[in-house]
């Protein structure tokens, strides 16, 4: 702000000017030329025939129009849609105020006037430093209302907004204050409904003052638009639902939208939707998603873009719930803390259907994407210098934290303890390293993935570095992964993977490397006193590129990837392809390409996508074998191929390599659930959910509990999912399935119907509805529903709960009916072939093995069914409840082999439950007998 002080309001810094006749370009009040004014002081004095007083007294030009109530109007300062605004003086107190006079308003009845006054008075009762106080509401002699309020010398944002173009922090600070004011007002029951730059005034110190609350609706503005559309609010800043819906449905989200639009404009110089006509603008805002902030100003922070986008969501439920939430995120951004608005999508089962409005199914891919895109948190660098000054950190000291056993998911298992001791011993003996006095034992509830925790551990152990590691068995050997973390910054300096036979060998080998790094790292005095190590740079550089063009393609690809719909996914793939074209060593881009192609394969199951995914992933791994993204891409493609067990190893590697692996934990949870280890799945999910404030994985936890047979916990989890994941049917469907397992068909149908009402056209819901009818043996109804499902995705069904392939169910029902036996047989054959095909590329896929078994049973081939069932169980199938309910197994239900298999499964599940058994759980899972 170059000219502050020179002019009262930024509005007065002009680019266009009207030159005076005298040639000068500066003007003061009333449009007067400053030079002429001054020079008039040089003119000779002109003779006056009368005194000034006398002259004025003689002429009858009274001020009556310029007195309203107790106020003397001084001058006009603006005209708006509502009326005129004056600077005025309160006669008795001599206080200067702004006076707003409503020139035209809906005065069809006395009632209206009374209501207006009441509303104005309600607004007048608001008392907040950033809300423009209303002093008085009155009615002029001609019956028009007016109100007086604080005079804001800095003008409004309408004129002042251009100043913020180069000052994003100022803009954010301002909007955060406004948001807090709106929060306060909303809590008092008042929505603004017409937030716009013109309503945000600035006082003498530049503080924002929000005015004109909720009064827009009283004003019949003269434009045709408002008359015809009865839209209140200003196009460009008005939330779409204000246009479409009745006023009764408005929520604080409308103000959030407006705040987002204003922030968008301050940061980018233009409002999100532009148009020549208000109608055009309004329609655009209702139809299209808002543009991304960085598409206009690329250099702005990604977090700002996210915040704006969340405010500008068309669906009010997707925005920040309140202005206060928005204010908090803005304040977090100002403090360099991570914001909450990040698009986080939960892990749900992979799907193979496509919808009319092609949004990718919320799937485990989401976790793959998000983790891949690397939404890593920024370190709060402002605290660094404080820490450095406070804590005397010994240069070469290292604190060892307990190793984590990834097979047991425990830090207290034998394996974990053994490795921890081995490292402690090795480091004690190492030259140039001083082991922190007491090896820090992490309590179970401390989350070492958070930067603050690393710092705390380091500080309390007075150590400059913290060593964190994990161990697991892999291909007959021990695999160890360790991270060396700098206490002061909380950043990972180095990461190593090491395989070996004995704990002490591994520890010794890695200790040498650790010593080297510790010796090498130098202290530099940067702005924040950051300690930079050579290993630091090395770590950042893994798989990255020096080519800025390639880098921006990759970044662009990540942006598209995050948006999570088909069109943008294609754009993401394009961008990643370009990135690797430019730099053929860009491992990160290859890895992203692999993940993106793998996700693409979901809705387009042609072979090409997966082949490209495999190829890209292989290249990424070759170039950068320590790159977590590469392993994540590999894990994703393996899953896509159906090779779940193989994908486990890749996911575990990702977990080992990542500094803050909570998303990897979620992916591992889901994968373990898929391979029939819900007990381990639970532990991984619990790990992952420690990191999150909201129960993101509630439905996954529910699934795991269901598999283990703890229905009470499962129900709790699903109910949590209903609340916290309202955009997905997972909670209701989980409850539905639970009811099914409890033998309560009516209850199952009820939950399913609720889901149907809430989530129209959702194929998951359709599948559940079909399953209920099928298991309850209402075959005509079941057939109808399965046909519907098959119309959407002919090859579907095997991956859903219960693993009932659509064609298999239809075929079974038809054969049973006798009438269409031939067609039924054909369908069963087709179903069989579909499973066989899947098993070719993934022979240990338990779902397809089970599906095949059920299909064989449907075909009357008991032997084949039994064999497949055994294989399925060996591969990890544990859903014995579905086995018991599935009519397709009727032909072999009484066979010894079947009963045996059932019994084995029940014991297996019971075993998995044992370590977690508590007093409230029933000792055995409830047996269900299918009722016709």
């Amino acid at each position: 702000m170059n000219f502050c002080g020179l002019t009262d309001s930024p509005a007065s810094i002009v680019n266009e000017f009207e030159r005076c006749r005298c040639g000068s370009v500066t003007r003061v009040g009333y449009g007067l030329c400053l030079s002429c004014l001054l020079r008039s002081g040089l003119c000779p004095e002109e003779p006056q025939t009368e005194s000034f007083d006398a002259a004025l007294a003689e002429i009858d030009v009274r001020d009556s129009e310029w007195r309203l109530g107790n106020y003397q109007i001084l001058e006009e300062i603006g005209r708006g849609g509502m009326g005129v605004i004056y600077r005025a003086r309160q006669r008795h107190s001599r206080r200067i105020v702004a006076l707003k006079r409503i020139l035209s308003y809906h005065s069809d009845s006395r009632d209206t006037l009374v209501r207006f006054q009441r509303e104005a008075e309600a607004v007048a009762s608001l008392d907040h430093p950033n809300i423009l106080p209303i002093y008085e509401v009155g009615v002029s002699e001609d019956g028009l209302p007016f109100f007086s309020m604080k005079f804001a010398p800095g003008g409004s944002l309408l004129h002042g907004r251009k100043v913020f173009r180069d000052e994003p922090r100022q803009a954010v600070r301002l909007i955060a204050k406004v948001a807090r004011a709106i929060e306060y007002a909303n809590n008092e029951g008042i929505l603004h409904r017409d937030l716009k730059p013109g309503n945000i005034l600035l006082d003498g110190r530049g503080e924002p003052l929000v005015g004109d609350f909720g009064l827009a609706k009283w004003i019949d503005a003269t434009s045709d638009l408002t008359r015809t559309m009865t839209v209140f609010g200003t196009p460009g800043y008005v939330a779409p639902e204000q246009v479409n819906g009745p006023a009764g449905n408005l929520t604080p989200a409308v103000d959030v939208y407006s705040l987002g639009a204003i922030l968008f404009e301050l940061l980018s110089g233009q409002p999100p939707f532009l148009g020549e006509h208000a109608i055009v603008v309004i329609h655009q805002a209702a139809e299209k998603p808002a543009p991304k902030l960085r598409s206009i100003v690329p250099r702005l922070d990604r977090d700002l873009e996210t915040i704006c986008a969340r405010c500008l969501e068309r669906d009010p439920a997707m925005r920040y719930r309140t202005a206060g939430d928005l204010a908090e995120d803005l304040e977090r951004w100002l403090e360099d803390r991570p914001i909450i608005a990040r698009p986080v999508l939960p892990p749900v089962r992979l799907w193979r259907w496509s919808r009319r409005n092609p949004k990718l199914a919320g799937s485990i891919a989401a976790c793959l994407i998000l983790a891949a895109v690397g939404l890593v948190e920024k370190v709060a660098s402002s605290r660094l210098s404080a820490i450095l000054q406070r804590v005397e950190i010994a240069q070469r000291s290292v604190a060892v934290t307990s190793f984590e056993d990834l097979d047991e998911i425990s830090t207290t298992s034998n394996s974990a303890r053994s490795m921890t001791s081995a490292f402690t011993a090795a480091l004690t003996q190492a030259k140039g390293i001083q082991l922190s006095a007491t090896p820090h034992q992490i309590a179970e509830d401390v989350d070492p993935w958070r930067t603050e925790d690393w710092k705390r551990i380091g500080e309390s152990g007075n150590a400059r570095m913290v060593l964190s590691g994990s161990v697991r068995r892999r291909e007959g050997k021990q695999r160890v992964a360790i991270h060396l973390i700098e206490t002061a910054t909380g950043s990972v300096v180095s990461t190593w993977l090491q395989d070996g036979e004995s704990d002490s060998d591994i520890a010794k080998a890695l200790t040498t490397k650790i010593s080297d790094v510790v010796a090498d790292t130098k202290v530099t005095s940067g702005d924040a006193g950051a300690i930079v190590g050579r290993g630091d740079r090395k770590r950042d550089a893994i798989g990255e590129t020096n080519n800025s063009l390639a880098r921006s393609y990759c970044d662009r690809g990540k942006e598209f990837f995050l948006r999570y719909n088909l069109a943008d996914l294609d754009r993401a793939i394009e961008s990643f392809r370009k990135a690797v074209e430019i730099d053929s060593n860009y491992a990160v881009a290859y890895a992203m390409l692999g993940s993106a192609c793998q996700a693409r394969a979901q809705t387009d199951p042609t072979h090409d996508w997966l082949a490209e995914a495999d190829a890209a992933t292989a290249i990424a791994l070759r170039i950068a074998p320590m790159l977590p993204e590469a392993h994540r891409a590999r894990a994703g493609t393996l899953r896509r191929h159906g090779q779940l067990r193989a994908s486990l190893d890749s996911f575990l590697t990702v977990y080992e390599l990542e500094p803050a692996p909570w998303r990897s934990a979620a992916l591992l949870g889901d994968t373990y659930e898929q391979v029939g280890r819900p007990d381990l799945a639970l532990r991984w999910f619990e790990k992952a959910s420690r990191r999150q404030t909201q129960p993101l994985f509630a439905d996954n936890l529910g699934n795991a509990w269901t598999s283990l047979g703890d229905y009470d916990e499962a129900e709790k989890a699903y109910r949590t999912a209903i609340i916290f994941k309202p955009d997905l049917p997972v909670g209701l469907l989980g409850l539905s399935r639970l009811a099914l397992f409890r033998g309560d068909y009516k209850g199952a149908r009820k939950e399913c119907e609720q889901a149907q009402a809430k989530y129209k056209d959702n194929p998951e819901v359709l599948e559940m509805a079909a399953l209920i009818e099928f298991f309850s043996r209402h075959f005509p109804a079941a057939e109808k529903l399965y046909r519907e499902a098959a119309a959407i995705d002919r090859a579907g069904g095997a991956e859903f709960a219960g693993s009932v392939r659509y064609l298999s169910a239809i075929g079974f029902i038809q054969e049973l009916s006798g009438v269409h036996a031939k067609e039924g047989k054909a369908l069963l054959e087709e179903a069989r072939w579909l499973d066989e095909k899947e098993l070719l590329s993934a022979p240990d896929n338990l779902r397809h093995l089970y599906s095949l078994a059920a299909n064989y049973a449907a075909q009357g081939n008991g032997e084949a069914a039994a064999v497949c069932l055994d294989k399925a169980i060996a591969a990890g199938w544990i859903d014995y409840r579905s086995m018991m309910l599935d009519p397709r197994f009727d032909s072999i239900r009484d066979d010894e082999i079947f009963q045996n298999a059932l019994g084995r499964l029940i014991s297996k599940v019971q075993e998995m439950r044992q370590p977690r058994a508590s007093a409230t759980q029933p000792p055995t899972p409830t047996e269900i007998t299918p009722t016709p």
Partner: protein, 228 residues
């Protein structure tokens, strides 16, 4: 400092804070810092002996103030940055002063982009003088119940007589054209008087008024101005 002199000085501060603030901002300080410094400067003025209005040989108030301000900023710069600000009484009431005497100075950005702080100071000083005179004229009209008249007629204070549409004004004010002519004439005369009075507050003797006005006129000259 004696009571009367102090009052006079504090009135001057109330009127002439803008050039000081503008100067400090132009020197690169942030708005909050500039506000605090302006406040500190005034406090220093009022408490100190820096300025002695009674001394004839020392030059005009405007240039004295600028010198004092320069020195003040140099001193401030040398002082420890960690010195806590605020905590004292708020002398400058930004909101009130700006509400009472708002400024509508409007300048084309291009012209003044490269001006040094001293020239910005002078420009702002010139505008303040003129606006203060206008304000007093408005108040005089207001106290005589003629504020609206002032609002209507003030735009024509410097306009050539030939360009004034007396007919329109007559209709707008509801008085005959001859009355409009007389009023305008009166207003112009009164403004001139007030302007000279204002200038006289900051110079030592009436003989310096013209010189000061000329100086201020020259201060406005920009490269964009055509010389008439």
């Amino acid at each position: 400092m004696e009571g009367e002199a102090r009052k006079a000085l504090s009135d001057l501060c109330r009127i002439y804070w803008r050039p000081i603030f503008a100067f400090i901002c132009r020197r690169g300080y942030s708005v909050p810092d500039a506000q605090d410094l302006t406040q500190d400067f005034f406090v220093m003025l009022l408490e100190g002996n820096l300025l002695s209005l009674a001394d004839p040989g020392r030059g005009r108030f405007r240039s004295l103030l600028l010198k004092a301000l320069n020195n003040f900023l140099i001193d401030k710069h040398d002082q420890a940055k960690t010195k806590k600000r605020g905590g004292g009484m708020q002398f400058v009431s930004w909101n009130d002063w700006m509400a009472e005497a708002p400024s509508q100075l409007s300048v084309p950005a291009r012209e003044f982009e490269n001006w040094p702080a001293e020239r910005i100071f002078d420009l702002r000083w010139a505008a303040t003088v003129a606006e203060e005179a206008l304000r007093r004229l408005a108040e005089e009209c207001e106290s005589r119940g003629r504020r609206r008249m002032f609002a209507v007629l003030s735009k024509y204070l410097t306009v050539d007589r030939l360009d004034v549409s007396y007919a329109n004004l007559s209709a707008s004010l509801g008085v005959p054209e001859t009355a409009v002519k007389r009023l305008l004439h009166q207003l112009r005369g009164r403004f001139r008087t007030l302007l000279r009075e204002e200038v006289s507050q900051t110079v030592k003797s009436p003989s310096e008024i013209e010189g000061e006005i000329r100086y201020l006129c020259a201060a406005l000259a920009t490269s964009a101005d055509r010389v008439e």
